[in-house]
Point group: C2
Amino acid sequence: MSKPIDFQITGSDGEARTGTITTRRSLIETPVFMPVGTQGAMKGIRFEWLEDEMDARIILGNTYHLFLRPGIETIRKLGGLHKFSTWDRSILTDSGGFQVFSLTDLRKLSEDGVEFRSHIDGNKCFLSPEISMEVQNILDSEIAMAFDECPPGDAGYEATKKSLELTVRWAKRSKKRFDEVQSEPGAVATGLFSSRNPVATAPGSDLNGKQALFGIIQGAGHFDLRTESLERTVEVGFDGYAIGGLSVGEEKSVMYSVLEHTVPKMPKEAPRYLMGVGTPEDLLEAVSQGIDMFDCVMPTRNGRTGGVFTSAGKINIRNARYTEDPSPLDAECGCSVCRRYSRAYLRHLYQAGEMNAAILISHHNVAFYLNLMRNTREAIGVGNFPAFKRNFLARLTENEPLGV
Amino acid sequence: MSKPIDFQITGSDGEARTGTITTRRSLIETPVFMPVGTQGAMKGIRFEWLEDEMDARIILGNTYHLFLRPGIETIRKLGGLHKFSTWDRSILTDSGGFQVFSLTDLRKLSEDGVEFRSHIDGNKCFLSPEISMEVQNILDSEIAMAFDECPPGDAGYEATKKSLELTVRWAKRSKKRFDEVQSEPGAVATGLFSSRNPVATAPGSDLNGKQALFGIIQGAGHFDLRTESLERTVEVGFDGYAIGGLSVGEEKSVMYSVLEHTVPKMPKEAPRYLMGVGTPEDLLEAVSQGIDMFDCVMPTRNGRTGGVFTSAGKINIRNARYTEDPSPLDAECGCSVCRRYSRAYLRHLYQAGEMNAAILISHHNVAFYLNLMRNTREAIGVGNFPAFKRNFLARLTENEPLGV
């Protein structure tokens, strides 16, 4: 039977592993970092750079934001998020749940779903597992996410347990409605093979052209609840599994121990996605536990405030020490920003309030993350991942050792 | 005797003319629009696009802004504005005067120069003809401008006359100090021929590697003062001549009649530069009077607020009528933005507060201006400029006829 995505493991080194995810729109090498294009654009970075220079194969779109603006009817009329935004490679959409639950004062939770007020105009809106599946189907992403409830990072046992139960019931409803919309006429995407997408799957492959759906494991910092959530989510059955509810305010040690506890129990034959994480160190730690996919706004968000990721640690371009520094952001980076522009020039642009500072630093940061994953895959491929990780971490304090 | 720039007239159609300006860094075809890179960057547009796609040969840098930030000592240490910013083709720098005179409340004018307070930190600063020449020499622009006083557009006769006299005295002092700094050791730029600059003059040509200096004609809306300013500026002797003090608040008919009066009297064998102008219509009008060079912030400034120049007139992307419009900004434009993105998408980015709206619209606008000048040169070349201009103007009311 044909399937929506194909996942193959191509190598491993300890728990760390390399693989390929083939979607109807692109071949993705894992471990992969998915840059976040919240509102259908990568903040400050034109798609041309993501395609031609960075060769990103998959990006993230946020259902909550696009649902509110431009609105799902507009995107439907314009042919889905790919056609609307012109990004022809793969897209993963989140379910909208995480953003809604961030609106603490603006929402009302029920068994049915979540009522909330739009952060844009205050209008009353409603999201449910069913609506989320319908919206993600119209967005036309390659990978959709189940609609879950995400408790706070420091949630107590009982609250987490109750939330987990709801998430499991919503996972079943998500799956049911997802399967229905996949079977409706017009649900199979068309026009997948474009000139901008040389890495797309050739027509005639084993894929069925439909969306894939990932389930989400919750349970906060409670190991047994993580296990329970994992087992019951796998029981529902998804094309891939995500770990949610980490990097939401808890201690870093909690995240790492939850990963250590949970990841080995996840199905080996499906992609494993750690949502919303994280720093370069977090990525390497999670890869070493067997995670395949990541997304995070850090590269672009930091880029807009002058934060720069480098192979010698994070720096902040506002620091006066860079005023006359002719060196690139990262001497070991081969991105188009590091090949051309100096720290002195980028600091000047930042200080002068020029948006080109955000444009260029965000570009470097995303390139840095994608290169880190490229190097990670290579290290796993040659069985050198532990040493690669050790060396990478050892160098992170060379720049601005007191942090930024 | 070798010279700093070489200007050749290559064709004409009425008063309109085509030509080439060869500087030590690039070959510039005229009439030319020079995009404005105020602080050493083009707001929202990476130099890569200006070079590779738009093939801009010369841009503008603002002495006032760079003098204050990052400061001239920083730029000197980093090897001048080209090396600092990585823009390898030609740069024209203004004298700083225009910006200082815009700070009405913050300046004190004397025969010697202008004392003013920095708009950044309120510190007391001083600019004079001599200092402006020294600063522009350190900036290392191909074309420097004389330090002038710019009276308001509606200045009365006596005030304009008095200002004009000062501008002539300052023109002489500018010329004197300019010549001195050109002869100082290290004044001749080095490292002019880079891989990013395939259009640079070959070493061994007739150019002397020094900067060129343009004089500025003032006189507000008073014809006889314009004539007097022109004659006395030409008497001082410059490599090119600019018309200043237009598009500063006066009626459009005043600008056009000043051009009609002044341009035919300007030396034919030197480049003629209309400073800070203007709309596409203004450019064509001025070209028809014999102007060769333009600069204006409109393409990028409008781009940041959603204003789009098109061959059917200006539109504003905020307009709700574009919400579901799948067509490009300008169907006749071949720029990378119009080849890829829709009005609907760009409007969404603007409404969502994404900086990519400014990035993409500014890109199109600058490309539109550069293409307009390319088409203008072609029309002059084939003796079809009057019809070209007539057709262009006739179409400008097709979009949003009531204006934006």
